[in-house]
Amino acid sequence: MAGFQYTKLFAIVEIDVDTDAASELIIKVDRPGDDMHQVLNFAFNTEATTTGRRTVTVSLPGSTRGRLFQPKITSQGVLRLYGMRVYAKVLDGGGKTSWRWYTIPVVPTQEDWQTFPLPIPRTQEGWESAQLPIRPTPKEASWVPLPMDK
């Protein structure tokens, strides 16, 4: 697990989420020591407070630090995850010591809607013509033999 990354202090986690049931956010880091271990287990359920999507903000224990950060989300039902970020700052070296948000990679959800035409057979816009089944009338008169007794 050890790498070239600098140790960071983690303060806040924000998740953009929509749940239908009780859910949990679990955070693991690799400090102290080198093994990933759990530092937070936070229960949440946006269905209990609102209908639909909501931002859940969680404060991490003040001593949460590590070179690596690993989030996990479980739920007892359906959950839609739209985004996640963590507020952290570098503790040693790197020259970047200010607090900033780090975006956690989550497969993005489209903000725009797509359209899909339903497979309904097309109705013709134009008109077709069809001959009516009327027996044609000859233009010229014709001789017809009359039935006669022989």
Partner: protein, 110 residues
């Protein structure tokens, strides 16, 4: 980590002329089997290409991998076309099926 790309359905617009009708929208989520998720009324229309939009986002979006619409009119009904609006959800999981979301340990930049 769930891999399927679930869709959220917002609305469905049809072009038609005819009697009033009942509309049902089936999808496979939640649960994984096709079931009625919305039952709505379609008003009668005497316009040649009447338009009516059926909302699928109240109170929540209808979701699913699969869907099909169902229309049963009370009389003559001519259906000329229709379009559905949807979007793909990035991460959708069903914890009741043992699904969860987890990343690899992340170095976060530096």
């Amino acid at each position: 980590m769930p891999l399927e790309r679930v869709k959220q359905f917002k609305d469905l617009t049809i072009h038609y002329r005819g009697s009033a009708a009942t509309f049902k929208f089936y999808s496979d989520l939640p649960g994984g089997s096709m079931a009625v998720r919305r039952t709505l009324d379609i008003p009668a229309s005497s316009a040649d290409h009447g338009t009516h939009t059926l909302l699928l986002d109240n109170p929540d979006y209808v979701e699913g991998n699969l869907f099909y619409p169902w229309i049963k009119p009370t009389g003559e009904f001519r259906l000329f076309g229709g379009v559905i609006r949807f979007r793909v959800i990035g991460v959708y999981m069903d914890g009741s099926k043992g699904e969860f979301w987890e990343t690899q340990p992340l170095g976060l930049g530096v």
